[in-house]
Each structure stands twice: as C-alpha cells, then as structure tokens.
C-alpha cells in the first residue's frame, strides 16, 4: 500500500470514528432526564413552557432530522450555549483547551524523558535488583489513583516541606500559566506518574526484544562496543513501538488531566468539564467530550503516521 492510499484510508477511518462519537454525544444529549428543555428551564418549568421551548428549538422534530441540524451546527463550530455561564461552549473551550494541552504535553514529555531511559536501563540490567525495584515501583505508580497521588504530593511537598504551591498557576493565557513555573511542578508530576509506569514497561520489553535480534549479534561479532550498539541501533528500533503506543495513550492523558486540574484548581478544560458536571451543564459536558475525542483520534492518527515514517518495516509489514 502506498503511503498516500494509507494516509487517505486512515483519515477516512478517523472521520468515521468522529462521526460515531457525534452520534453517541447526540444520543446522550437526548437521553437526559427531561431532555435539554428541563436542563435550560429548570425543575420549576411548566409542561406548556417546555412544549413551547421544544417547538422553538426544533426539539419536537424527529430525531434523525434533529441529528442533521446538530451536525450542521457542529460543522459551523457551534456547540451550543452553556446553561450556567451563558457563553457559547465553543468560546469556553477555545479559552481553556490550550492550557489543558500545555499540561498534557508537559506531562507526556516529562513522562517520556523519565520512562525511556528507565526502560532501557531495566532491559540492560534484566533480572538484576535494579530491574525488580523499578518494576515494582512502576506497578505501584500504575496502581495509584491519580487523585490520591496528587493529595500525597501536596501533603508532602507543599504542607510538610513548603517547596511548591498547592494550587496551580491561575491566569487566562498559556503565557500567564507559564510565568509561574513552580506552580506547574506538582500537577505535571502527578500527570506524568502513570505515564512513567506504563512507558518504562513498554520500553523495557521493546529493548529486550531487540537485544535478541540477529543484527545485535552481527554487530557484536563485527567488533562494535555494546554501548554503541545500544545507542545506535537498539534504541532507535525500540522507540518505534513506543511511539505507536503514545497514540493510544492520549485518552489516558486527558483522563489524568481531568483529575489533576480539579485537584490543583488548574483553569483548563478538565476543570471546566468538572464544574459543568456539578451543575449539569450538558452542552459544556458534551462539547468537551466531542473535542477530547477529536483530539484523541488525531493523536492516534499522528502516532500511526509517525510510526510509518520512522520505521520502514511497518510499511512492508502492512501492505
């Protein structure tokens, strides 16, 4: 399969997935108790008020027709109005999404920078004490709920040892947040912990697998030093499956951001989502779900394409 037809195929698949998500979101919107009318008008609304509202908003039309309306709105970037904040959902999300992306990207970068060397180290020292200790620690990190980890971090590094603030930087722009880097330390560490656990495991097994390949023995027989083989050949070949896993990891990163933002009061999309859930602000909730899914699908797509670019074997294997 040529690269172009692969790209087109993958993009079409991604679009199909996004379309499916819109169906799910639409169904959720209509499965709500009392429907959107009850949500906007409140529990005091009379039956006639609700009928009038439904008629005005086109909510008395058949569901497929409403779905087409809904899709049409989405294409025009209209995600509806927030019930409680009285602002367009799209505007609320555009304000907050960059800050969430900052948090997730920072967590992912920090996580990878720690996880990749750890995994390689473990593979080289396979079945030695170091390997067991790191394996145990990463299992523990994986098994810890993010909110519990965040709480412990705050108690230790903010209450007992006053090193970092317990609250994330506030501010409306990414720059404002970045101007107080010390406030980002604890949220980023909390967000990166699971990532370190998962990706050091991937990196360990990928490196182990590559170390048994013929080319390693050939290079060794040809007189290359083990360290040179590791950094020049094995490392690069082991990184490829890790890149592919990165795409599947995007939803976990966003899930982590949801908890971290609530815990540290970080003004991103996760916190917006959280407050919207407390006040049953459905347009905001479903708008966020949609944006997060699109981000996830894009992430997976990018990882797939990137993997194909890095590793010629993938191309040969798939066609």
């Amino acid at each position: 399969m040529s690269t172009y037809s692969f790209l087109i195929r993958r993009v079409l698949q991604a679009l199909a997935v996004v379309l499916l998500v819109t169906v799910v979101v639409f169904c959720l919107l209509h499965a709500l108790p009392g429907g959107p009318a009850r949500g906007i008008l409140g529990p005091q609304a009379t039956a006639s008020q609700i009928t009038a509202f439904n008629h005005e908003q086109g909510l008395d039309k058949p569901l497929p027709v409403q779905y087409v309306y809904y899709l049409n709105q989405l294409i025009h970037g209209d995600l509806g109005m927030s019930y409680t904040l009285n602002e367009p959902v799209s505007q609320l999300i555009t304000e907050r999404l960059p800050k969430t992306l900052l948090l997730t990207v920072l967590s992912a970068v920090v996580g990878l920078l720690v996880a990749v060397p750890l995994g390689v180290w473990q593979a080289v020292r396979r079945n030695k004490p170091v390997d067991y200790v790191i394996t145990t620690l990463s299992f523990i990190a994986y098994s810890t709920p993010v909110y519990f980890l965040g709480l412990i971090l705050v108690l230790v590094f903010s209450q007992v040892l006053p090193w970092f603030p317990a609250q994330a930087p506030q501010g409306n722009s990414v720059l404002a947040v970045l101007s107080q880097p010390q406030g980002l330390v604890l949220p980023v560490v909390a967000g990166a912990a699971t990532m370190v656990a998962v990706f050091s495991r991937y990196m360990r097994s990928a490196t182990l697998e590559n170390l048994t390949e013929d080319y390693v023995r050939t290079a060794r027989a040809g007189g290359s030093r083990p360290r040179a083989i590791l950094t020049r050949h094995v490392f690069r070949n082991s990184l490829t499956p890790v890149v592919a896993m990165l795409g599947y990891y995007v939803p976990v990163l966003f899930g982590g951001a949801l908890v971290v933002e609530q815990l540290f009061n970080y003004p991103g999309m996760g916190l917006l989502f959280w407050t919207a859930a407390q006040s049953s602000d459905y347009p905001v909730l479903l708008g966020c779900v949609l944006v997060i899914s699109i981000a996830t699908v894009t992430g997976t797509l990018l990882a797939d394409v990137l993997q194909r670019v890095i590793d010629p074997r993938v191309k040969a294997g798939r066609s």
Binding site: L20, S143, T144, P145, L151, G255, L258, C288, I292, S293
Partner: protein
C-alpha cells in the same frame, strides 16, 4: 451428522494447553515470584474483607459522635472517622464493595469484549470494519469523562455501577480477542468443522474461544485490576455508593479533606489497600501472561 460434528469438536477443539501444558503453565507461574506474592495479597484481602468482620466486628451503621476522628489506639486500631465509625472495620466493609464491584465489572467487560471481538474477527470484511470503528470511537472518549457525564445524569445502585463500568471498559479485550480470532479462523480444525456443516456459532463457541482461553484469562486479570482502580475513581467523580455503605475509593475521597487536618489514618489505609490490590492483580496478570506465553496487553 451430530456424532461426526462432536468427534470433530473432540479432536480439534482440544485447547492448545492439554493436561501437561496446564501443569507446565502452573509451574511457570509459580516461578514468577511477584505473581505468587500478588496471589497471596489477593487471598489476604479476600479473607480480610469477607472473614475479617466475623472476627473483628464493628458498628458501621450508627453515628457515634462521642468518638469522632480519634487517632489509632488499642480500642480502634486504625482510629475512627468523622462520624465515629471504626476505620479498620470500615476498611473491611468498604473492601467488600470494591472487590465485588471491581471483579464483576472486570468479568463483565471481558465477556462483552470477548463476544464482540470474536464476532468481528470471525465475520471479517465490512462487519469487522464497522465493529472495530465502534471500538475506536469508544476508546476515543476517556472513561473518566464518561463517568463524570453519567454522574451528572444519575446516581446508580451497585448493579447499575457494575453495568456502567463493564460497558465502558470492554474495548481493549475486544481488540485482543479479535486479533486471536483472526489467526484461528482459517486453521484446519475450523475449516473442517465448516466443511462438514458446523454452524458459525459452533465454530466460535466450541473451537475459537476455547483456543483463545489463555488470552482471555490474561485479559480478564488485567481488566479486573483496571476495574478496581476505576471503582476507586467512582466516588471521587460523584457516582459512588451512598452512605452508610462505602468502598475504598469512597473512604479515600471523604478522607481527603480530613487529611489536611492531619488525620492520616483516614486516607493512608484505603489508599494502600487500593494500591496493593490493583498491583496484585497486575502482577498475577503478568505471571499468567508469561505462564501461558501470551503476547502484550494492548
């Protein structure tokens, strides 16, 4: 006809691991020290939660305002919480809910995922494509977001909670079982069965699934670990079981505010319990994967 079908089932559907294979797997599992420790931890917590209350009985229903927020002592080994419940007894009581819900949700997710994945892989073609895009769409929405949306709509009872957790976490096992089915469906014993008139359902149920059983068991173990972890988030997200009932996640999230007042005994025990049990199931899954020689979890 039926007798010849049965003989094909008997000949071919013999799972890859016969009696000696099983013994080999058990031996390999026992050699994995972490996995054995994990098994021990799970057995300990099951005894602790289900037998423990019979030995160490406490009042977990009445509010006892004369003994709130006491630190650990001879009378209350792990202290008491904000309404005077004994924390050690509460740990047993909440553990029951966490373990039952986590186990049921993990098993339910594996069952749904297995059926979905086997059907998709066996059918192939556009049916497979559509079914797998549904899985992609599900994976694209992070589980915590769905749980929070659900919490805005309703507060489910325990059965509802198991259903919700099962319905959002069957996606990964479905992918694993589909991959397994793809390699099995063109094997000779399946083709033979089809050639002599066996139905598709029979091929899947009697031949493909029994031969995928090691993949399914490994997936189920990891699924239970993830489900128990997800249960720990549930109360935090506002979907938890209602007081006076509780679970470890619920104890942890109600204890969070108290932690700032220095009441460490309200968060450390449930936190450690969650970490230990989730770790244990992951270690068991790891051991089983090595024992059965199954690849990858994702």
């Amino acid at each position: 006809m039926s007798s010849s079908l049965a003989s094909v089932d008997g000949l071919a559907a013999k799972p890859a691991q016969a009696a000696s294979g099983t013994r080999l797997a058990v031996r390999r599992f026992l050699r994995n020290r972490l996995a054995v420790v994990g098994l021990g931890v799970v057995v300990f917590f099951v005894l602790f939660c289900f037998v423990g209350p019979l030995i160490y009985s406490t009042d977990q229903t009445h509010t006892l305002l004369q003994q709130v927020n006491q630190s650990p002592s001879g009378a209350h080994w792990l202290g008491t919480d904000a309404v005077g419940h004994d924390e050690l007894g509460r740990l047993m009581y909440g553990g029951k809910v966490s373990l039952i819900v986590g186990l049921s949700a993990g098993v339910l997710a594996t069952v749904i995922g297995t059926l979905w994945g086997a059907a998709a892989g066996y059918a192939g073609g556009w049916v497979d494509a559509v079914m797998m895009r549904v899985v992609d769409a599900g994976i694209a929405i992070p589980a915590l977001f769905i749980l929070l949306v659900v919490s805005a709509i309703t507060t489910p009872d325990l059965t509802g909670l198991v259903l919700i957790l099962g319905l959002i976490s069957w996606l990964v096992p479905s992918r694993l079982v589909r991959a397994e089915t793809l390699t099995l469906k063109n094997r000779d014993f399946v083709l033979t069965l089809r050639a002599i008139g066996g139905t598709h359902a029979r091929a899947i149920i009697r031949h493909i699934l029994p031969n995928s059983v090691s993949t399914i068991i490994v997936a189920a173990t990891f699924q239970v670990a993830d489900a128990i972890l997800l249960v720990a988030y549930v109360s935090y997200l506002g979907l938890g079981v209602q007081p006076p009932s509780t679970d470890w996640g619920g104890m942890l999230s109600t204890g969070m505010t108290a932690a700032y007042s220095g009441y460490w005994w309200l968060i450390v025990p449930p936190g450690l319990a969650i970490i230990l049990v989730v770790w244990a199931f992951n270690a068991i899954g790891d051991g089983l994967r090595d024992a059965f020689d199954v690849r990858g979890r994702a």
